[in-house]
Symmetry: C2
Subunit: 225 residues, 2 copies
Amino acid sequence: MFNETKTHEITVDVVILTMKNNAIQVLLVKRLNEPFKDKWAIPGGYVRLSENLDQAALRILKERTNVDNIYLEQLYTFGDPLRHPNARVITCAYFALVRSEDLNITTSPELGWHKVSDLPPLAFDHKEIIEYSLKRTRERLELCPVAYQLLNEKFTLTEMQKAYELIMNKKLDKRNFRKKALSTEGLIELDEYTKSSSKRPARLYTFENIKLNSKRAHFIKKEKK
Amino acid sequence: MFNETKTHEITVDVVILTMKNNAIQVLLVKRLNEPFKDKWAIPGGYVRLSENLDQAALRILKERTNVDNIYLEQLYTFGDPLRHPNARVITCAYFALVRSEDLNITTSPELGWHKVSDLPPLAFDHKEIIEYSLKRTRERLELCPVAYQLLNEKFTLTEMQKAYELIMNKKLDKRNFRKKALSTEGLIELDEYTKSSSKRPARLYTFENIKLNSKRAHFIKKEKK
DNA sequence: TCCCTTGTTTTTAATAATACAATAAAAAGA
DNA sequence: TCTTTTTATTGTATTATTAAAAACAAGGGA
């Protein structure tokens, strides 16, 4: 049995999500070689012998986006024998939520952001992995205000609501949202306002460092039966 | 970089939980060889090249318990470089919930059930894996009545409540539990009763096949702030 | 027959979630 | 300066959910 398993390879792939241009977007790289040449893929790499899986995911994230100290969570391990046409590659998928203002990426024809609602042709089972990361993000959002990981450090409640609506893919009631948002542990009201053009300024808020997953967020109304 | 990864090995380990003797118990095997000789471990094995991870977990479960058609879910992938002292072994952990009446195991000094509240010395990081499987089971239980996977086909509401109390590790109010349990989708009231000694017989219930994870179960009261 | 144990049902109060619309603040243009 | 435009901000009535609690029922054994 041991011999039969010798040729497994293990990689870590990271779904990197951010909010840009009023949409949830995912960072993709274009494959330059076969298999799946010219298709898009989520960033990934082999796990080094000296690092654990979290460290591998952080390394890949750092290599690609130059950010750290962000929300990163193991998603699922995909191991279908046919997911890679030429080899037996098992991938441990992670997903990350990053602030667009923290990003320091020079995009190119081979590296760029794509709206999750309009994905290009993807390599391997990466479509499935991205969809699963969105499902998990929705689940997390029902338990804790993890969406603030997508917002800039200072944000308005309208921006926060927009993030929720994009992730949950439904409209929320403005008054109820604000009421519940304001009761969220860790939300801090600032004495600053947006200064934009031709409209009423909005108060800015920020989050203190809170334990994620610590509290149920009440932003999303339950489905009607 | 490829060379550095060649010697990874990948296994699947399965935390098999059941309810026996008024306790949640886990199936463990005693290790006969080093490393961790004479310590206990959760059942596992290498992933074969021809099977995916779910199939590997099902195979291991079937080999050990001779049951199939049970609740099985991928738990987490553990890949610390030091989790195995002699090799770089990454394990994809699963957990399973089985009915004690379905079990067909001949226990021995090397294979047996252990209460999760009183575990023997464990090999590798298996203590962490078992604890994580209990945490996940609790999370699942808050979303769907997955506990019926631990109950026999026909059960009383008191037995069902007992399962919830054991998993959640807290007492529940009998009257409220029954009210909410009876409103659960898929619960079927039978015209049969327990015939036991010296007490009032209890009505038996069963579950029709339901989509798990389809509905929030209301059995557990929220934590007080 | 009485006692003991466990199973079963109902009512009420408290809390949380939901639906819903008018007013306030700033800037631009008339 | 007045009007228009745009977005921010706020409260209440209703409904649904959850929590807490008490009395009665059924069987076995003394």
